[in-house]
Symmetry: C2
Amino acid sequence: MVKHMRAKLSDVASAAGVSKATASNVFSAPQKVRPELQRRVKEAALALGFAGPDPKGRLLSGGRANAIAVVPPGDIGITIAFRHPYMTEFLAGVADICEEHGAGLHLVSGIEGQKAKGIRNALVDGFIFGSIEEADLIEPSRRGRVPFVLMDVDAGPGVNSVRVDDRGGARQAARHLIDLGHRHFGIVTVLRHSHQPPVFHGPSEVHHRLIGGYHNDRERLAGVAEELATVGISINEVPIVEVFGGSVHDPTFGGATVGVAMLLDNAPEATAIITLGDTQNLAVLSEIRRRNIRVPRDLSVVGFDDPPQLALFEPPLTTIVQPVAEKGRAAARILFEGGPPKQVVLPVELAVRGSTAVPRK
Amino acid sequence: MVKHMRAKLSDVASAAGVSKATASNVFSAPQKVRPELQRRVKEAALALGFAGPDPKGRLLSGGRANAIAVVPPGDIGITIAFRHPYMTEFLAGVADICEEHGAGLHLVSGIEGQKAKGIRNALVDGFIFGSIEEADLIEPSRRGRVPFVLMDVDAGPGVNSVRVDDRGGARQAARHLIDLGHRHFGIVTVLRHSHQPPVFHGPSEVHHRLIGGYHNDRERLAGVAEELATVGISINEVPIVEVFGGSVHDPTFGGATVGVAMLLDNAPEATAIITLGDTQNLAVLSEIRRRNIRVPRDLSVVGFDDPPQLALFEPPLTTIVQPVAEKGRAAARILFEGGPPKQVVLPVELAVRGSTAVPRK
DNA sequence: ATGATACATTGAACCGGTTCAAATGCGAAA
DNA sequence: TTTCGCATTTGAACCGGTTCAATGTATCAT
């Protein structure tokens, strides 16, 4: 008994007495084939149990994979990504455009050393990199193989990128507080690695030289600096603390609340806190609450980003909200549209809620 | 000037003065190649800008795609999936195992007619189908091409499947109420399509013949029937309403609250409501609240599934919780492990919280 | 009847690798 | 010196399709 091998297109073709090319057309371009031949080929296919062209073959022959990949930022594996409110919302945006194009969405898994391999081997038509951290991993795909988009940075005119107007958002936040009458501020920003202790920069130091932070964190600080300058305040006079993380679930994560405490201790004159890190909002609010500081009566707080977990916090946080899903859509669109490199900058919005008011007397 | 084409393996090979086979080995099985040759090939690759073997070629040549696909259930596109608490948790489980294996996770987009195409074209080593609805779409992949796992059904010994013990869970829910002393029940279960109005089955009708519902919904009802039978109550005496949806955000979605109202109106003697549909819990609670019925004093409620949105509901819902992420893990493991078809049944647990108590006098 | 036009079909090249049996080279053992 | 065994290297087949120029073949206007 002959071993039953899976039928391939050429088997079908010869069984139907046509050429491979015709058989191929029956499946991918039926209008090119006479109805009768079509029928004959389809019958042969059915008889041989041929379920349509194998995508593997199609792909090799210059085809598209019909899928795009998302590579979550360095510290976020795909398991965590699904539980991360920002990432799921971002991915929903990407998925939205994928669905428009009937394309699949491929997530590259994030195990330490495996990520580069995952990127090299991904069978996709393009990449969305969650952060520039993956810059070195891009190299293989950059070599003209596959287009890609970088999130949250501007890597110059030659590279696709999507980010939000971090600087402008920070300006709005600062402006809001200034307009309310605030003149004494404290700033919370991002420390990149969890093993570093919080860092406090007193008013006598130069703050522009931060230790941690991604590109967008620096942009935000620059925005605050610009806006404060309009009322004669130098960013160098403003106390700043850099803290890591602060999970949306656990405010103390990575020493976040410790850092916030450091700021509050060292900046008693501040009437408003500006939080520039997206995951630090909870740490700020919770440390403030722990100290029984009344917000916004004793202290105003402006955040950055809008994690849903904070939706029920009382008072609701006045914060800069960014169009997370729209970022995903924009990135995916760039990939599907092709064309010359684009740099998309999306606007952010100040959502004035309950955590800001005029400064205490 | 010659047009610069992307270098391929054979170019590298000839540039380095070796055979294609050797060049291939340098990248995929270095230990087979003498160090010096390795160096030569790598140099040639560098000079030509060859960034490693193209996964397309590797794939065709009998390789694995190194990714598995998840096909969300019929009515859930991938955009929605990312915003759907159950799906994200499930996907997190799948992702967990993918990361263990350094494999990618591919989501098949769910546009109506495109889904079959998405499945046919997906470059993956296996499929996880969110529901049996996709049974017909499976056909192409079933033809020996790619292994797959079905969720939430038992499709027999020849097919991989992962589900939870719906029947047992329902029995636990019913038992809990029985033990509290309840003898008069109302049941809310699932109507499949949103365009159908809620259906009420009065105590005189035969309830086993439901209109909607997936396989697991029927299992759950059967479980309740079994347990009630132990205290001499026939399921045929119990009022049942079938309602669609009830979104986790909008309790009225798809007429869900209308259906619940129907049940409450027609079953005034019921001291306990058993909700068998995962997304209907909110509809039940909200209609009950609207009527100012005090839970659990006037009415006990047991739910099925544990959407995080209900975490803050007062009183917290006594409900059957299923190991959602573990379902994802189990399904993914089956795909990676290979071997003969497996049918996995995971246990569920009754979480006794605040919505159940002894029946009112 | 003739040439032009349109359409259907085909043969062959190509996509970019992997794999394996056979060939080669080389030092050690006889 | 010859032979054997082992480690490398190679040629050729193969993975399963798509594509395109060339070849027919039927249709239509002249």
